[in-house]
Every structure is written in C-alpha cells, then in structure tokens.
Symmetry: C2
Subunit: 471 residues, 2 copies
Amino acid sequence: MSHTANVTAEEAVHGLSAAQRRFLEGLLPEGDRLFSAEETLVFGTDASRKCGTPLAVVRPTTEAQVVELLRWADAERLPVYPRARATNVVGGCVPQRPGIVLSTLRMARIIDIDEHDFVAVVQPGVITADLQRAVEARGLFYPPDPASQNISSIGGNVATCAGGMRAVRYGVTRDYVLGLRAVLPGGEVLATGSRCHKNVVGLDLVRLLVGSEGTLGCLTEVTLKLLPLPEATASLLAGFSDLGAAMDAVRNVFAAGILPVALEFMGPEVLDCAALLNDVPWPKTVRAALLFRLDGSRAALPLEVDRLAAAVRDAAPVWSAVGVGRDEEEPLWTIRRSINPASFLVKPDKMSDDVTVPRGRLREALEGIRAIAEARSLTILTFGHVGDGNIHVNIMHDASVTEEREHALAAKGEVTDLILSLGGTLSGEHGVGLTKAPYVHRQLSKLERGLMAQVKAAFDPHGIMNPGKAY
Amino acid sequence: MSHTANVTAEEAVHGLSAAQRRFLEGLLPEGDRLFSAEETLVFGTDASRKCGTPLAVVRPTTEAQVVELLRWADAERLPVYPRARATNVVGGCVPQRPGIVLSTLRMARIIDIDEHDFVAVVQPGVITADLQRAVEARGLFYPPDPASQNISSIGGNVATCAGGMRAVRYGVTRDYVLGLRAVLPGGEVLATGSRCHKNVVGLDLVRLLVGSEGTLGCLTEVTLKLLPLPEATASLLAGFSDLGAAMDAVRNVFAAGILPVALEFMGPEVLDCAALLNDVPWPKTVRAALLFRLDGSRAALPLEVDRLAAAVRDAAPVWSAVGVGRDEEEPLWTIRRSINPASFLVKPDKMSDDVTVPRGRLREALEGIRAIAEARSLTILTFGHVGDGNIHVNIMHDASVTEEREHALAAKGEVTDLILSLGGTLSGEHGVGLTKAPYVHRQLSKLERGLMAQVKAAFDPHGIMNPGKAY
C-alpha cells in the first residue's frame, strides 16, 4: 500500500484533542466511534489501495447524529470523509488529511419501495444489489448496475454517479436520483427533489450532489426512480478475428436501430487473461469479443435476438453464442466477470482507469492504448462499456519493481493525453478521487474549476468535506 | 395582455443612455439591434402573454458578439434576457426590469450531426423539430419532444429542461445534454462537458445550466446525445367510462413490465372540448382516455402492441383503436394535439400549469382538481403525461370578467396547495419563470433558495442574467 496522506508528524502524534474525543464519545455509543489505530486503519483505505490515517471513525445510526457531527466538525474545522463500502477505486474514500471518517454502514435501511409511485427511498448504506433484489421481487427495476453492485452502496453510487453495464440503454445513477437528503457542514439538512419523476423548479441541486464525491455534504437519504421490470432478457456473445470487425459489428447494431441494454467489449489481452481462469468456449482465432444483452417481453425477445444476431453476422464473427433467460445467459457473463480476478494472474498490481471517448473514436483509442503498451513493454487490459465509449484501462505491473512502476505511471499519463486528444474524459463512472486529481487540470479549464470551487464554498465554506479530492 | 414589468416612469422615459446605444450600434450591424418601441415590443412578451418593455433587442450572430455584449452589460449592470422562439408559457422570456433582450435566432445552425459519435452539435436558435428531422434522415433519434417542438428552440428546451410526450421511456432534455458552451456575465466563455456519453469529472456544471432558465449565462452551443432511431412505432388510444378505469389500465400496463414511449391522459372536460373541434370516433360513454405509443422493430412491435392491448383490456375500456406506423397513428394523435386550440372555444383565457405528482397520487390529484373546479364554477382542463405524473392544468376563464379572473387565480393557488400536499412539484417541464415565482417559496426551502442564490452569484455576481425569475 502506498501512503499518500499529508499527515505531518506532529498532527499524527497529537491526533484528536481530549475535548474533541469527549465530544465524539458523547455523541455516539461505544462501538460506533473508534479511535485506536488498530480499529481505524482499515477505514483509511479503499479499493484504490491508497491509504490515509483517520483521527477517528464514527458510525452514526441517525440523521440527527450526522447533523451534530457536521455542526461540530465545521466549527472545529475538522475534515470529514464519508464512506460506505469503500469499493471506490480512485481513493475517493481515503482521508487525505487528518480528519473523521464517517461510515454510513449503520444507515442501511430500505425505507420504502412503492410500486405505485415507482420509487424507492433508501439510506446511503444500502447495498445496491440488495435494493435490486428487493425491488425485483415486487416487479420493479433499478437499472444502474456498477460491477461492484454486490458490495457497493447506494450512497457511494450516488456520490460517484456510478454507471454500469446497463448504462447504454438505461443511463447512469444520475438518471435515477429524484430526491435526496444531505447534511451540510454546519449541520443544516438539505432536503431537495421529491418523489416526482419530473421536476424543474429551481436550479438542479439534486444532480449537483450526484457525482460530487462527498465534497458538498453527507447523504442521509436517497429517493430513486424505478421502472417496470422487463419480462425477459437475452444475451449474445460474439468473437471476432480482430478489433476492426468487432467495431464494425457495433456500428451495424446501432445502424439497425437497436439500443442494447448492455454492450461490452473485451480486447485480445483480456481474452488471453480470461483464458487463464476459465475454459473459454471460443477458438484461438478470436481476438476481440462483444457481449450484448437485450430485454423485452418473452414473446418479442426471440425476434429481437434474431435481428441483433443478423446485424452482428454482417461483421463476420468467427464464433458466437446466444443465451435466453438468466440461466442460459449466466455462463456468457461469467467470463466478463472473471476479468478482474484473472488480471492479477498477469501482474500483481494495476493502475485502473475508466476513460471515455466519443463513441466514434473508440477504435483509435483502443489502438492507441495498445501502442502505448507495446512501447512501454507493459500489458494493458482494455475492456468495458463500449456502447458508451467507456473503456476500462488496466495497466498491469509489479509495483515492487521500480522500473515497471515508473513505466506504468508514464503510460497512465500517456493514456490520459491520448484520451483527451480524442475529445475524451478522464472518467466515465469511477470519479476523480485522489488518483486522477493530478490530471484534472488537463481536462477542466481554470474557469470550470473556479466555478466548482465557488459552488463548493456555498455548500462547504470551510472546506471540511472530503478535502483534496475531485476538482 | 397584463403588464408586469416594474419599469418606473423615469426609467421608461430615459431608456438607454446615448453611450449605451452607441455601444450596441458599434457591436452589431443595423437590423441586428432594435431600439424603437414598435420594433422591440414583440420581444417583451412570450406565450405566457405577460409583457415587459425591452430597452433594446440584439440579435448576435457569433459567440464573440455575445462575449462583448455580456462583458459590457455586466459592467453597466444592465439586465440581459436571452430568448429564442419565446414559446415559454411562464414568462421566462419576459424582461421583468428594463434591460437588453438577447435573441438567439440568428445563431441557429446545426453545426454537426455525427452518426459515429451519436451526437449533434447545435446553436441555441435551432428549432427542435428541424433537428429531429435532420437526425432522423441519418437514422438517428433525438427523443425530447415538447408539444412546442415545431416552433421551440433547442436553446429554450435546454434552458427549461423541456420534457414532452416521450419522457416516460426516454427522459427529458437534461438526459441528452452532454456538453455546452455558455457566455457568462463579464464575457468569459464556459465550455463544459464533451461529446462523451459518460463523464463524471468534477461537479456537474452541464446539468446545473440545464433548466436554469437563463439565470446563469447565455448558451451559445449545445452538444446533444443521440440514439439509434427505432425501426417502427405504434399507438393505442383507449376510452374508459371513468377515471378509475383509466388509472387501473395505467397500473396494469406498468405491472406487465411495459414502459411505453408515451402515455397521455385526457379527462372528461378535455374530451368534451376536443369534440368541439373534431369528429371524435368514440361513444359518449367515454369519460377518460389514454393514448399510448410504443416503439421497436417492425417484426416485434405487433407482439408488443398485443401485450399492451391485453393489459389495457383488463381495465375494461369501452372503446379502443390501434395504429401501426406514422400514417395510422396520426389520426389518434390529432385529437391530443387539438386540445390547446379547442380549449379557447371554452373560454378566451387560461391559466396554464404543468404540476407533477408522484405517479401513485395521480387519481387523488385529478379528483382534487375537479373538486376545485366545481367549487369555483370553473372549467379546468386536465390532460398530460400521466406516465410521469405530469398533469397539464388549464384553468379556463374570461379575464375581462373580474370575478372569473379572481376565481381562476384563487383556483391556481388551491391547485398548487393540493399538489404540494400530495408531495408534488409546481412544474414538471415548463419551469418557474415569472408566473410561478410567487409560489416557489411554498415548495423550495429557505436553505435550497439560499444555495441557489449563492450558486447564481458564482456565475452572475451582479445579477444581470434574466433577473426576477425562477428561484
């Protein structure tokens, strides 16, 4: 683990004052506030494997406790770092300066699922997949499905505007947040938005908080839009002899007027990597693969699958397989899901990015990334949500080998420059956090960053919310 | 027309100073700046029929001219009122204080339509329907379809976050704005967002500008997301003996997992009103109607229509008709489109609202509005986008009769209170403008309004952009 927090020796030694510690002891019962390094250490990191040292960890169970905490922390000018399951891969949950980590895991109740209003009201600590199962049991559908959905929380999904496989057709977390409650520094409770599916009264504070990476306030409740649950789903996995053929297939599908639920891409390095963990069903000539999902009614779906297959066929796949319904689809998706665990068989460390380019620039982006990998003698795994132009770039390396680490870091900068030169963005769904913060000025103008800083100051005048992150 | 602008006699007489007039004459060629009351009067009103008096009207053709104008106006502390086609029904375009009206109608170029990136780049004055036709000719689809689409502009659509019939399935304007350029007071050009379909770097300035009703800056370019064009559409119009049966049908359709493209409702007063202009095909027993649209592939669509019809049938409609393809569908939609012209056969004036309630509270809202109408001896036409909970409420009256006008105004307040008591919102798609501004404090908290004011101050420190509107 790399240690990035700028904790001075003095601060680290002093920690909280006796009065500060007494405040937290008065606010929360034992077990819900942690002070010892043994207990707090794990709350100083996230899936980025960056690490900071919390002065204390608190686990409020009520909004009233969050109010008291943020009133006090603001007066004390103490940074507050909200977190739930910390699946964030960019260091968004890492305490960059000494401060209080606020875990929302004890605020994890599904408050309401309403099949008439088509909304769910949840606390931030609710696990995304738990919510999905709960609403599906009632014939409802919450589409955002980040790859971390089985372990990530709604609070984190909202804070990062999480995407997922189904974003091509159904959009991202932003598109499902109708209302929210957030405690602001100073302790005021912002209740904004509603249970209405449309609402255009005033500036859009709801979407301003979505994706704000915990820099404006601490979410305590989220109202989410639900859809009717489609009756059936089907998937098609197709293998091509090269990238060009796969990109032709993508083009054919859209040109046929088909908007798939999901459209995932796996490059040659990824296919080799997946073959390390799985018995892959395709021939060795497959050097690029596309994985589609469709949904619809049981009656109509087979016809839609036929149309999709015909559009793909025009790009001459060397292999393909169709699965109708969850049981048949699951094996096709297992390979996609194994990429992350399989990647560590290639190298022990990865630098993970989720760059996004305009959809038409995908081929250039993928070819450019491969050229960077070759020039630096690195394996770079590229896969992801090709329907959105959103590519997961995993620069594999061994961080204990100085030269490899340096090459990987240089490659990350080169990939960033390549993506920006194609009109792309640093992040499609992970956010900026700590790891992309050094690159943000390459994408955002001084004017944009100035406006963002002023907006932040309106919510958080003393800069206590998740400082050092995002923008 | 009612005159709402707070122009003092002194200001109205003085108008622009000689130096101010000289500046505008230097900035723009003759014909692109108007000063005489005869020429400017029409730019002081919009579809709300509210009216103010512009000091001058300017019609820039380039962003550079907008930059110069906003630099100067900010220094002069002169209000600026952006407008395009002024189809706004809430007075959003009306100069509430003496200032400069900035017409974007000479910035009306479709700059780019890209079938690989699936984006369109347009200037603010482009007519929505013109863009739709242009992209459809290339097999692409821009879903937002406000009722005004044949005469309204993309700039206005973005400024109000316009909705439309297709919002049930495809969302609203917000969901299609990927990037934009806007000139801020002082003349800085904010270029934010991109051509990427996903982007989560920094606070969401793009969506902050969407729906901001011209209060933050002047749009000069918008990058919109496009979808593949569905192959075919079909519509179903169903008549029911009462509101309850129609609401049952809505419930059945969603419960069957069907998410229609459009789901429009027409109440009994609206059906009577439509019958004044059209030979309606249904029997007199029809007192509520639903109009659905579906889309999909030519092969699968008939099966989807069958499923929809079956779900509707369970609610015992007394009459129904199906149209497959544009030619067959058109007659079904003519009736819906005739509501606005037909309404003026009932009474010469209307107070028009677009309140929205949580989807499950629709029946209560519609019944409550009818009770208000009866108690006040008024005809209130209710129709709209029932799939979103978005109801158009038209309080018909004769404004020249004092008592009727007063009853109508009282009814508007009562409808507002009813909607808010059901957890609803003042506006689903029109915005606040001038006409709803007196009611905003009933919906937005002091904290929300305070934050909005601070955000506005970051963009527009001297408050010159469309003052007196929205929040």
